[in-house]
């Protein structure tokens, strides 16, 4: 524990990277996941097939393989993130951060899509039919009637997906991002006698971050619960 307390700035910076990965990938995965869900429940057969294929493919691929693809195979195929070169204070967002965000977003969006689709299924069919009877087109039915209710019904599974994302950011440790797990291994290497304390300090860090997200998810769930 001493090792962490003596180097607390390094500890905070490492969790800073973890949070950045979570926030950026979290927003992107929500957006892409919503598009995918709309594709999967929509009336266009081609889009349904594309959405289903994407979810089946990505959801059944281990995250490490997605990461490895964007780290090692993608550069050979010409997909690089070299254009990304942002520096904010002590944080550097470069090609490695870009590859990590893309991997995490693409991976998580498949799960967001499925959580949302479960939410859509929770909206009774009569609602959609009534909206259509009023003359709304598919986009209108989704935007005005189905998706708002689906989002509200899917807050708990969505929170689980995002919590999983927080923990999944740890995979970025071995692909060039100096986030929490990477820093933990660095501490372990340097202060081999304090392994238990170091592990505890990083476990506490993750628990705190996850608890904050759960807190807001709980609040949101209570506030936006669909009246039944």
């Amino acid at each position: 524990m001493r090792a962490v307390l003596d180097n607390f700035d390094a500890y905070l910076q490492a969790f800073g990277y973890t949070l950045f990965l979570f926030l950026v990938a979290g927003v992107l995965s929500m957006l892409l996941g919503t598009v995918l869900a709309a594709m999967r429940v929509g009336p266009v057969a081609v889009l349904r097939v594309v959405g289903t294929t994407y979810v089946t493919l990505v959801r059944n691929t281990p995250l490490v393989i997605v990461f490895a693809f964007f780290s090692f195979a993608a550069p050979d195929l010409g997909i690089r993130f070299g254009w990304l070169d942002v520096h904010i204070g002590p944080f550097d967002f470069t090609t490695f951060f870009g590859a990590a965000v893309v991997s995490l977003s693409l991976y998580t969006s498949a799960f967001v899509c499925e959580a949302l689709r479960a939410g859509v299924n929770a909206v009774s069919l009569g609602q959609a039919e009534a909206a259509r009877a009023l003359g709304l087109p598919f986009a209108g039915v989704m935007r005005e009637v189905v998706l708002p209710q689906a989002f509200r019904a899917s807050i708990p599974p969505m929170a689980s997906v995002q919590i999983a994302l927080i923990k999944n950011t740890s995979v970025a440790a071995v692909f060039g991002v100096a986030e929490a797990v990477s820093q933990m291994r660095s501490f372990n290497n340097e202060f081999g006698t304090q392994r238990y304390g170091i592990a505890l300090a990083f476990a506490i860090g993750y628990v705190l971050v996850v608890e904050v997200v759960s807190y807001f998810a709980n609040r949101a769930e209570r506030r936006y619960r669909v009246a039944t």
Binding site: P75, G82, G192, T193
Partner: protein, 301 residues
């Protein structure tokens, strides 16, 4: 085809046999160009004092040695190799042989892969009896495990693309340099004003230098030399060494008697030339000169 023709021409079965045996011997030597076959030494009664770990190991006839698998020249094991190869491994063989165990027999000697992060836990839990895995001696580590040596002194350098004009770490201030996640090398990179980027293994890091994602890779010069040799014409090693790493042998801190034994075997290998020969054979091809053997640390009393 050639063989059958020769046999028919000679018309004598015996000469055919001789040829076949000759060819077999030839093929055997060809497949084993990296490591040296070290023979198990005869352990005489009373060579190791009863109750010592060495006596236990010699009695059991088996041993687990922690080594690296991803450092060409030091500790490397390809997917199809039976035995890892490299300088660390050659030293490990000398130690194993001294216990009367055949170092080439993988049913007796298990070469367990240890990554930087798990060397101390492996020694503490007894998963391995010895660690020879480019293991730098540090005071911090000596509080949880036993370390002796060094059998080798190296320092951190830079591996850059062949056409790079980087000459030292000074040229890379603020730039990204990759190494292995959680390694001492990453800390040194950061201390020198560059930015350490961590990957799981050195080979992945080399890949990032080759595809241009980072300007350089940094770790012990000998490891880099191994990769430069593997990617001849694409990568080169540059710069002065900006750290000093004393590479030693790790053992369990609960078995302090192993220290004297390890030092004894190392001393013997310095004197009889097997240390220099192992160095020449493993690190020589990548262009590293054989240095003078380092001075061994005294064992804790």
């Amino acid at each position: 085809m050639r063989l059958t023709q020769t046999m028919r021409k000679a018309g004598v079965v015996a000469s055919g046999f001789a040829l076949a045996i000759g060819l077999a011997a030839c093929g055997d030597a060809g497949s084993d160009d990296e490591g040296k076959n070290v023979d198990a030494e005869e352990v005489e009664e009373g060579k190791f004092e009863a109750g010592t770990r060495m006596a236990e190991l010699a009695e059991a006839g088996t041993i687990n040695v922690g080594v690296k698998y991803d450092q060409p020249g030091l500790g490397f094991k390809g997917a199809a190799d039976d035995l890892p190869s490299g300088f660390d491994i050659e030293i490990a063989k000398l130690l194993v042989a001294d216990l009367g165990i055949d170092p080439q027999d993988t049913s007796k000697v298990k070469y367990v892969e240890t990554i930087s992060d798990n060397r101390e836990p492996f020694l503490q839990e007894g998963t391995v009896d010895l660690v020879l895995a480019s293991y730098s001696i540090t005071d911090e580590r000596r509080q949880s495990v036993g370390q002796t040596g060094p059998y080798f002194v190296t320092g951190q350098q830079l591996l850059v693309p062949e056409d790079s004009d980087v000459e030292s770490i000074e040229d890379l201030k603020g730039k990204e340099i990759c190494s292995v996640t959680g390694s001492t090398s990453i800390d040194r990179i950061n201390e020198n004003g560059a930015k350490g980027v961590g990957f799981d293994s050195y080979s992945e890091c080399v890949q990032k230098v080759l595809d241009g994602s980072v300007s350089a890779m940094s770790t012990d010069g000998t490891i880099l030399a191994g990769y430069a040799a593997q990617n001849e014409g694409q990568l080169k090693v540059v710069g002065e060494e900006f750290s000093e790493e004393n590479i030693g042998v790790g053992y369990s801190i609960d078995r302090p008697e192993m220290c004297e034994w390890i030092n004894g075997v190392l001393e013997e290998s310095f004197d009889n030339g097997s240390w220099a020969e192992a160095f020449e054979r493993t690190l020589g091809p990548s262009g590293v000169e054989v240095p003078d053997p380092p001075t061994l640390d005294a064992c804790p009393a």
